[in-house]
């Protein structure tokens, strides 16, 4: 158990380096020319399922469409971020899309697309309440991106009772 904790810490230190711009070359970037890589898309689909559980449509087809729309909007959002923020996000997503990064940073064993909502939520809790700032920062970033992208579209507004702006 102790050995495992040490390993984890080593990985997270590596992650700190990566985010600081050091070891980043070892990773597949999460953004390619400012757009989401295929694995980053899978990551956000999985995160969306877990974060938006209870808000997403109950019907399976409708839920799938809602998540796909959210991923498209995240892609647009990423393209509009300044280069330095894109680089940071790219490294974070790249790291989360590797098995060691997923385990070290998110504490998640199965691949994102295979993980259940409960498993992803447990991983999110681990980051959210971590004593390491890097893991907390990662949680905050993912929470903001998913929530922001999902609720920016009017298709999501009825779920929160927002009627939309007054038509002028």
């Amino acid at each position: 158990m102790q050995r495992r904790s040490l390993l984890k810490l080593g990985l997270v230190s590596g992650a700190v380096l990566a985010l600081a711009g050091g070891a980043a070359v070892l990773l597949q970037p999460g953004l390619v020319q400012g757009r989401l890589s295929p694995s980053a898309r899978e990551l956000f689909t999985s995160l969306g399922r877990a974060i938006l559980q209870g808000t997403l449509p109950a019907d399976a087809q409708a839920r799938k469409r809602a998540l796909a729309g959210m991923v498209e909007r995240i892609d647009l959002l990423a393209a509009n971020l300044p280069p330095t923020v894109q680089a940071e996000l790219s490294q974070l997503l790249g790291l989360l899309c590797t098995a060691p990064g997923r385990l070290g940073l998110a504490g998640l064993v199965p691949a994102w697309q295979d993980a259940s909502e409960a498993q992803v939520q447990a991983a999110l809790d681990g980051m959210r309440f971590s004593t390491l700032a890097l893991r907390q920062q990662a949680y905050q970033a993912l929470h903001e991106i998913v929530g922001g992208a999902y609720f920016s579209d009017e298709s999501a507004w009825p779920s929160v009772g927002y009627p939309g702006p007054m038509i002028l």
Partner: protein
């Protein structure tokens, strides 16, 4: 497309000189009397006054020129196009989210219209502790009056929306004085969409007032153009180098200067964080290490409440009621005081601000129409343990604010969460949620009080945001204390002034737009006098 007249499109049709982006290529070199960096509160006032004095002015804005026809009251369009870093700007440790405008009109295009003169307590501190003897209430009053007239600033006499009425009722129940906020609006439709750009042109932002006035008098506006650095020589600014930027701020052509502006005088008014960053990139003299230091945020914490009745925080004028009770009842240099206001609520802001995920988050959001939110602006910069942050440059020259949230600041945040919860229960809240990762909705004031007392008030657990960036180019009575003199002129660089919120030597202790309008009004009149010998006043 809205059915309202669009004064910007009309101006462009009349032949305003606007270049950059789709408006036309930037010339290699521009010569003028005064170059102004930025187009927000300080830049707008300065541009109107200097053009009135007959000076040839060039305004440089990094963001796009958007106007009422573009403002469709949608967060999905407003945040990416009108805000710095798509409204996701963060401090270095990512513990504070910063909302700052990046478009023609700057933050005035997207702010919530709250207008306060600089509080007397703040001015007294500047005079008595910092030696800024010109900054008296009486001395500034005529400049505030002019700005208020020019921008139609008056108390909001329409019935407050329910989100604000709740603050009024809760405060009243507890015997706390709450007052009406003055707003810079003319014929306001009471929509509540101020933060996404005013679709009716009622908000008297710089976008529809001073910038058009300056353009009508022949000023040139460069948009989607970033002021990269000043060329310094012989104690003066020789030129300003600018680059054309894409929508995300990346240069259109990497590493290439797009235009060079040569002027008699230069005014930095790109807002706190960006103005000090231009000076840092320019390697401006900074013998006393004051540049970028003492940058303030009015760190904000929030408390959400659920009411039995509908609140509809998206509808109606945002921030029309406030209380200064928690600033006025304690010394300015003691434990942090705070101002309470009730912000507008829209789905993206709501979903990203409310902590947690899954079913509990969904349950909270399902109550959105019944949700009321209060925010507390903490008054930083008056105590040694609230020294604000430091603007730094990343390796690519972009700016980042390092703002450590000290235990002293977080102690104020805890008192603010307590005060807001108490007011919310007094106003009839069924449940109150302090916005913190470790909190839960509490159903009584007693439970909330003990829970808040036990919350770990740590960065990244406590949600902290800011929409008021101030300081970093502080004006000072002596060279050792600041970056610019009391008249806005740079201590070491002869033909350079700073005319924006980065001037403030502490935070303001109130929403800063009117402080910038009033103080810059005086500074710009002085500058016009020095450059032309002519006396001008805000029209």
């Amino acid at each position: 497309m809205s059915n309202f007249p669009d004064p910007i499109r009309a101006g462009l049709e009349r032949g305003w000189k606007v270049l950059g982006g789709a408006h036309g290529a930037l010339p290699e070199k521009i010569t003028c009397d005064v170059a102004i960096v930025g187009s927000g509160a300080g830049a707008g006032i300065t541009a109107e006054l200097l053009t009135q004095a007959g000076l040839a002015v060039v305004i440089v804005e990094e963001g796009p020129l958007k106007s009422s026809s573009d403002f469709r009251q949608r967060e999905s369009e407003a945040y990416p196009s009108l805000y710095q870093e798509s409204a996701s700007r963060k401090t270095a440790d990512k513990a504070i989210s910063i909302l700052q405008g990046r478009c023609v009109g700057g933050s005035t295009t997207v702010n919530w219209t709250s207008s306060f003169r600089t509080p007397d307590t703040t001015l007294r501190f500047w005079q008595e502790r910092l030696g800024l003897t010109d900054y008296s209430r009486e001395g500034l009053a005529p400049y505030f009056e002019q700005a208020e007239r020019r921008l139609h600033i008056a108390p909001w006499l329409t019935t407050p929306n329910e989100n604000n009425a709740l603050l009024q009722r809760g405060a009243q129940k507890l015997g706390i004085a709450a007052s009406v906020i003055a707003r810079n609006v003319k014929g306001c439709w009471n929509l509540g969409s101020c933060g996404m750009g005013c679709p009716t042109n009622a908000k008297q932002s710089m976008l529809v007032t001073t910038i058009p006035a300056a353009l009508d008098k022949g000023a040139t506006l460069l948009v989607e153009t970033r002021a990269e650095h000043l060329v310094l020589g012989g104690g003066k600014v020789q030129a300003l180098r600018c680059v054309a930027v894409q929508a995300n701020g990346a240069p259109v052509v990497a590493g290439q200067v797009s235009t060079t502006i040569v002027a008699r005088h230069f005014v930095l008014a790109g807002g706190a964080i960006n103005s000090p960053a231009v000076l840092l990139r320019s390697k401006a003299p900074d013998p006393h290490a004051r540049l970028g230091a003492r940058t303030f945020l009015h760190p904000v914490v929030m408390s959400a409440a659920v009411l039995e009745q509908r609140v509809e925080g998206w509808a109606g004028a945002p921030q029309s009621i406030y209380t200064d009770h928690f600033m006025d009842t304690q010394p300015v240099d003691g434990p942090m005081g705070f101002k309470l206001e009730a912000p507008p609520l829209h789905p993206v802001i709501m979903a990203t601000t409310m902590p947690g995920y899954g079913q509990p988050h969904a349950d909270m959001l399902a109550k959105f129409p019944h949700t009321h939110v209060l925010l507390a602006l903490l008054r930083d910069g008056f105590h040694p343990q609230a020294p604000g942050g430091q603007v730094k440059l990343r390796s690519d020259g972009s700016a980042v604010l390092d703002y450590p949230l000290t235990d002293f600041v977080m102690e104020g945040a805890r008192r603010a969460l307590l005060a807001m919860a108490e007011i919310q229960f007094a106003s009839g809240a069924r449940e109150v949620l302090p916005v913190h990762e470790r909190s839960h909705p509490y159903t009584s004031w007693d439970t909330a009080r003990s829970a808040i007392a036990a919350l770990p008030m740590k960065p990244l657990l406590t949600k902290v945001v800011s929409a008021h960036v101030m300081g970093g180019c502080a004006m000072a009575a002596t060279e050792a204390q600041g970056v610019v003199r009391a008249d806005g002129g740079h201590w070491q660089i002869e033909n350079l002034s700073v005319h924006d919120g980065s001037l403030f030597p502490t935070s303001v202790g109130a929403n800063p737009q009117l402080s910038i309008y009033g103080i810059v009004n005086r500074l710009a009149q002085g500058l016009a006098q020095r450059l032309t010998g002519r006396a001008v006043a805000l029209g």
